[in-house]
Amino acid sequence: QKEVEQDPGPLSVPEGAIVSLNCTYSNSAFQYFMWYRQYSRKGPELLMYTYSSGNKEDGRFTAQVDKSSKYISLFIRDSQPSDSATYLCATAPGSGTYKYIFGTGTRLKVLA
């Protein structure tokens, strides 16, 4: 079993839809959770990061962590064609290492 699982997609939605992107992880020691957006042939761009459980909102993006079910989500409201990209989740233990575990990414297409 991979430490972080992510559905590869592609996920196609109409413009304006609410998008839900999800990851599951296996190690309860993970404390930090990140979401990256990666456009084709570019490096990943950090979108949001959260520590432990709870929600974090930034504009149209909301990151949610449920440590009891080991489930992390990214919601995109009012999705735009410019949101079309691959979204990577990543986790890291709370201390002692900077080694991240990345999901393989979900490809999102927002159709105009």
Partner: protein
């Protein structure tokens, strides 16, 4: 804004050549990382460095080495390039946990 730059966007090398990939960050970050990214395999850590002249192996260090002589610069070296090292190479830096990535180098080994 954090800026991580990589020396080349695209590189084509021949089998057996020694290849140098350079990465520079401008935020005085302690930690720097080299990953490769392949379809279906995601990001895999090759090496990371938590201080000048310090390095640790990641998950796939075979065939690679690194050098960190200055805090802002982290180099990845392919000692003898092989076709299975054709990939997208990504450098990242971080102070604590948030990693910031460079634009990537797409390396093709023929």
């Amino acid at each position: 804004d954090v800026k991580v730059t990589q020396s080349s966007r695209y590189l084509v090398k021949r089998t057996g050549e020694k290849v140098f990939l350079e990465c520079v960050q401008d935020m005085d970050h302690e930690n720097m990382f080299w990953y490769r990214q392949d379809p279906g395999l995601g990001l895999r850590l090759i090496y990371f460095s938590y201080d000048v002249k310090m390095k640790e192996k990641g998950d796939i260090p075979e065939g690679y080495s690194v050098s960190r002589e200055k805090k802002e610069r982290f180099s990845l070296i392919l000692e003898s390039a092989s076709t299975n090292q054709t990939s997208m190479y990504l450098c990242a830096s971080s102070e604590i946990y948030e990693q910031y990535f460079g634009p990537g180098t797409r390396l093709t080994v023929t």
